[in-house]
Amino acid sequence: MNDNNFWKKEINRYLKYRKYKNPFSYYYPEKKASMGILVNYFADFIDMRNAKILELGMGTGLALVLAIKKGAICTGIDQSAEACKFAGMIKEDYLIPKEYKTLILLMKISRNGIQMKSLT
């Protein structure tokens, strides 16, 4: 299964839960828990306030959203357009507008890793 097909299926699954207040907890509770632990683990080593964090292959972008809630400024990159679309939904669902600018989503559109398309 290629990346875009995988993420398309995942988006469809997520959309079913978007009517709820905390959709990610319905979509993938195990991941919500583990990403929460991961971000807290990072916070043991770095001061998250204004820390600049980059995730390569962000997928849903949930870890970045949780890091933003701790005051970090985040950028996520993924080569899949569908993953970027998904991360955009998570951004809308979990961040308040004044936090929007603290999450930048990029799509890698070249194999050599130089060209990037800004999505936000």
Binding site: S34, I37, F42, L54
Partner: protein, 149 residues
Amino acid sequence: MFNVGVIEHFLPEGQLAFLKRMKIFSKKFVAIGIPDYNSPIFKSFLNYFYRVNKENTKEHLEINVLNLFKKTGISFLDKIGLGIGISSKEINFKDPTLLQFLSKILDSKDLKNFTVNHNMVDWLIKKELSLSKQDRDIFGFLDIYLGKV
């Protein structure tokens, strides 16, 4: 700078190039999350995934993060095991080590009819953090390696 579940999909030379780039662009820390191939939870989940998706392609390649850190001059700081959530449909009931571990953490919950649901996120976090480092290392779905540039 970090990634989870990405680098193990690259061939060894790609893994090294990836780490080298991370080192160039990161100012302080890098974190790499890869599946723990020896984790009973990961193995059980993978069997379920292959069964459901009817595919058995080896998408996860061998990787030695400590070796990659060494080759790229990144100082290893710490490693944790992460992720213990698993539902009964994914459990390999033929694995006694896994069953023993799950019985320990699931209190009186019925292992055969157990599903992680939306109300259990905080419970899962609490359970996982209450485990010993050794248990988290053995059973955690992922291994997270933290390095300093």
